[in-house]
């Protein structure tokens, strides 16, 4: 009885969370019937992929897609490189000012990043990076959260391994690239996946930096459909499905990385 009630509650909330996605998918696949039928249609009517084709005709979907992939890929690569390099000395080297540096990095967690966009736009303009991927990526590749997670990962590597490498004459750079990075690979994967989804979904900053529609990422470009296709809700729905499909797939197949990222953040 308790269990049944429990499941009932879980299902009700799950419907609330998932229904908008389901409705959008059904609308995107349907080609017949009233979009806003009473009661709402829960199954596609004469399903076909024609609405998806219409999306490609209406907006430069492939260009948006390519832009999103490039932005996400470069954000991940640079973030992993720079944040792991920063986390390593914080975790494993003794030097003057270590606590201060760590404190400074933590302080950025408190700074209101939404407010930074205005001045960052001036900075990006002065660096002539408006309308460039570099401009979109640069402010996002170093984050305190990534440094924190990777620092924790480095701290868990046994000291013996490092000592042994030192005895063999390895320098810090070799230890970092040959020993430390491979050992924390699962954590690099966690940070990488979280970053990829974040970068894919980022909306405000790219819409500020990018002004030419052809250079928009999907998250910004998909809103164009609403403008050009205000009347054809099915096409808007199809564009929406295409935009979230990659993130949903990434999330469903790599769920445990998301949960682990959270675990690390709580500690």
């Amino acid at each position: 009885m308790r269990t049944a009630l429990h499941y009932l509650l879980l299902c009700a909330i799950a419907v609330l969370c998932v229904f908008p996605f389901w409705w959008t998918l059904v609308t995107a696949l349907s080609t017949e019937g009233n979009v806003f039928a009473y009661p709402p249609t829960l199954w596609p009517q004469s399903p076909s992929l024609s609405n998806f084709n219409a999306v490609f005709d209406a907006i430069p979907m492939l260009a948006f897609f390519k832009n999103s992939v490039l932005i996400a890929a470069f954000t991940v690569l640079w973030k992993l490189a720079l944040c792991s390099a920063a986390a390593y000395p914080l975790a494993r080297m003794h030097f003057r000012g270590r606590r201060l540096v760590f404190g400074v990095i933590l302080a950025t967690l408190v700074l209101p990043s939404e407010v930074n966009f205005l001045v960052n736009f001036i900075t990006v303009t002065k660096l002539s990076l408006v309308d460039s991927y570099t401009g979109v990526i640069l402010p996002n590749i170093v984050t305190a959260v990534a440094i924190l997670l990777l620092k924790q990962a480095f701290e868990e590597v046994p000291q013996d391994l490092i000592d042994a490498a030192r005895v063999d004459g390895a320098g810090e750079w070799t230890i970092f690239t040959r020993i430390m990075l491979p050992l924390i690979a699962p954590w690099l994967a966690t940070v990488g996946i979280l970053t990829a989804v974040e970068a894919w979904n980022e909306y405000i900053w790219p819409s500020i930096v990018m002004s030419k529609p052809d250079s928009f990422p999907l998250s910004v470009g998909v809103l164009y459909l609403r403008g050009t296709f205000g009347s054809s809700i099915r096409v808007v729905a199809a564009g929406t499905v295409l935009t979230i499909l990659p993130t949903l797939a990434a999330f469903l197949f790599t769920q445990r990385y998301f949960m682990r990222g959270m675990d690390g953040a709580v500690k």
């Binding site: 806003f36 407010v115 205005l118 810090e172 998909v222």
Partner: protein
């Protein structure tokens, strides 16, 4: 390579980027808020002029009020997320799928969330159907077109998108609560309810504090959902303080005003976060 310089070589790229894109905006932005900066003429110090302007401006004052109204969400989200976490913190078969379902809104682009909830809130949309079937409404409700309702509709979407994130934070914390402590309490004759309030909640205090502060900051800085759902309308009823700042800064290119507005938001954020820290800090026994 000099051993003393080594850690700094590793740290340098990250620190430079943080300095340029995190610290510089705060310093330079605070300065520019007191000037008449623009691209076309030399910058002059104007004192509190920008602040006087925004506080005389109805849009900003409405925006600030709406941003403060967003705080109503904080207790709802936190209680809701904790309840959800308790609900999914067990070994029922299939529980993983429910956790995933509750987290899916978190990993969805805000623009897509805006489009999807635009469909849901449509006059002939699903939400109105449900409301009319349940006899909660006799005619379709204009969720996003009614100027008294729109703000709450936007707040609801913000909640919908944030709940799963806090749920996972609480879930991680719940799983760190030692099992034997809970069992000992049950053996001593505590009810489940007592066990939850006397043992689990006190153990969760640090997480509750962090989540509450994060959610306070997120509420005060609400912007994205407004942008994709209503663009501040109808009749400016969903303007938030940060929306005003972006509108002034990026659309009207009145950067000093925008920075003054965002400074006000930051100060309110810091004040409320400090208050939370003070009242929610785990007490030492």
């Amino acid at each position: 390579m000099n051993a003393r310089a080594q850690p700094w070589l590793f740290l340098a790229p990250a620190l430079v980027l943080l300095a340029v894109f995190s610290f510089w905006p705060v310093l330079y932005g605070s300065y520019l808020a007191f000037t008449n900066y623009s691209l076309v003429r030399p910058t002059e110090w104007v004192g509190l002029e920008n602040f006087r302007y925004i506080f005389d401006n109805e849009m900003f004052v409405t925006g600030l009020r709406n941003s403060l109204l967003f705080l109503l969400m904080v207790p709802l989200v936190q209680v809701g997320a904790l309840a959800l976490a308790v609900l999914v913190n067990n070994q029922l078969p299939g529980i993983r799928y429910f956790r995933a379902a509750f987290y899916v809104p978190v990993v969805t682009t805000v623009s897509v969330v805006g489009i999807m909830w635009g469909f849901m809130f449509h006059e002939q949309g699903t939400l109105n159907y449900v409301f009319m079937q349940l006899r909660l409404a006799s005619a379709p409700i204009g969720w996003l077109s009614d100027d008294t309702l729109a703000l709450f509709a936007v707040m609801f979407v913000t909640m919908w998108r944030g709940l799963g994130w806090y749920m996972v934070m609480y879930l991680a914390a719940l799983q760190a609560v030692p099992k034997d402590m809970q069992e000992a309490a049950l053996l001593d004759g505590a009810t489940r309810w007592q066990q939850f309030w006397r043992i689990t909640v006190p153990m969760l205090r640090p997480t509750i504090m962090v989540c509450t502060i994060l959610s306070v900051l997120a509420a005060l800085k609400a912007y994205q959902e407004v942008d994709v759902l209503t663009q501040g309308g109808p009749m400016n009823s969903t303007f938030t303080a940060l929306y005003y700042a972006y509108d002034q800064g990026l659309k009207h290119l009145k950067l000093p005003r925008a920075l003054a507005a965002s400074m006000v938001v930051s100060v309110v954020c810091i004040a409320i976060a400090l208050a939370c820290l003070r009242y929610l800090r785990p007490r030492h026994r």
